[in-house]
Structures are given as C-alpha cells and as structure tokens.
C-alpha cells in the first residue's frame, strides 16, 4: 500500500520534471530535468520490482544510474568543448597531481 503510494508520488514528480524538460527555457534546464528524471526513474524501477514481487529487476536500476552518468558527461562536453573527443580539462597544478 505504502509502496503504491510511493510509486504514485514518484510518477507525479516525474511528470513535473518532464514539464520542465519541455519548457526549458535553456538547454541546461533540460539536462537538469533529464538528470533528475533519471534518478527518479531509478527509484521507480526499484519500487516497481518490490511492488510486483520480483525485486530481482534491480539490475536495471543499477544500469540506469550508470548510463545516466555517461550521458550527462557527454552532454556537458557537448556544451563546454563542442567535441566528444577532448579530454576533460585540468588546470596545470591538478594535471601534475592527476598524472
């Protein structure tokens, strides 16, 4: 019962975030919305697994969390460098430390 309520709440939150993704106004807002949407998706997936009595599907939630990260980095590079090939920059001192 509580889980179903939780799922409903998450769906409502997802709907709101989708509205932000649609209206923008800047692309950063959209990415923010997608990112937040992704996290909520992860939660919803975990919840749904319990709701349907098959918690084994958590793997999908894990993979979402990971893919979400990769996509966000790609989007960020899109804005910052206009390239997918450049490495993420470091300032000089950090370069030395980072190796």
């Amino acid at each position: 019962m509580l889980l179903a309520a939780g799922a409903a709440g998450l769906l409502a939150a997802m709907a709101m975030v989708i509205v932000r993704a649609i209206i923008g106004p800047s692309h950063y807002d959209r990415i923010l919305a997608v990112n937040s949407f992704g996290t909520k998706t992860v939660l919803l997936l975990s919840l749904v697994g319990f709701l349907f009595g098959r918690p084994a599907f958590l793997d999908i939630a894990i993979v979402y969390a990971l893919i979400n990260f990769v996509t966000t980095i790609a989007l960020m590079k899109f804005f910052r460098y206009r390239s997918l090939a450049q490495p993420l920059g470091l300032s000089a001192g950090e370069e030395a430390r980072d190796g």
């Binding site: 939780g6 939150a13 932000r20 950063y28 923010l32 909520k40 992860v42």
Partner: protein, 120 residues
C-alpha cells in the same frame, strides 16, 4: 517483526518520495537554472537515500539488499557529480544566475517591467 520492519520501510519510502516530490516542485517553480539545480540535486540524493533505505528494510538481509546498496552507491557517485559537472559547464560558458531580491510578480506585469538587480 517482519511486518513492523516493512511498515517502517514503507514509511521511509514515502518520506523519500515526498522529498523527491518537493524537489520536483522546486525544479518546476524556481526562477532560474542555479536555484533549480539546487532543488534537484539535494532532493535527488536525499530522496534516493531514503527510498533505498526503506526498500532495504523491506527486503531484509538478502542479495536484494546488496543490490540496493549498489544502486545507492551508484546514485551517490553519479548524481552529485553530474550536477557538479552541469553547473560547472553552465557557469563557465557564461550562463548568468539571476541576482536580486525575489518577489512575486503577476504574469501580466512581468512582461512589462524590466527586471534587474535593483528593480523594485
């Protein structure tokens, strides 16, 4: 015992979802990008932690719990980093935060009045 735990777990889940919902309202209603990312990133991690903790309580000590811990670790690793990277990208590409006193302006007025740091 089992059912008590799962009720407590359910409570955590609902609390986490409530937090996520609050964050979503913030994402929808806050005035500019930087305030929105604030709303989103805090509640995402907080909400996720609560929900996953609640689910752990429901699941008991099984493989599922381990997976939930993994989900939590990944969410904790990725969401803040992504938010950081995004804010960094926005700021360094010159996306300006809106600075000034916050006030509620009716929609029809908003179009007319120019808004700046020292607008009335």
């Amino acid at each position: 015992m089992d059912s008590v735990l799962s009720w407590i777990g359910g409570g955590f889940v609902v609390a986490g979802v409530a937090l996520s919902l609050l964050g979503a309202i913030g994402v929808l209603r806050f005035p500019d990008f930087y305030t929105r990312i604030h709303a989103a990133s805090i509640t995402d991690t907080g909400g996720a932690s609560l929900v996953l903790l609640g689910l752990c309580l429901i699941a008991g000590l099984t493989l599922t719990t381990l997976k939930l811990v993994f989900v939590w670790v990944f969410v904790m690793l990725t969401t803040p980093v992504a938010a950081n990277a995004l804010a960094n990208a926005a700021f360094s590409s010159g996306h300006k935060p809106r600075i000034g006193t916050f006030q509620i302006v009716r929609t029809d007025e908003r179009r007319k009045t120019p808004r700046g740091p020292d607008a009335p």
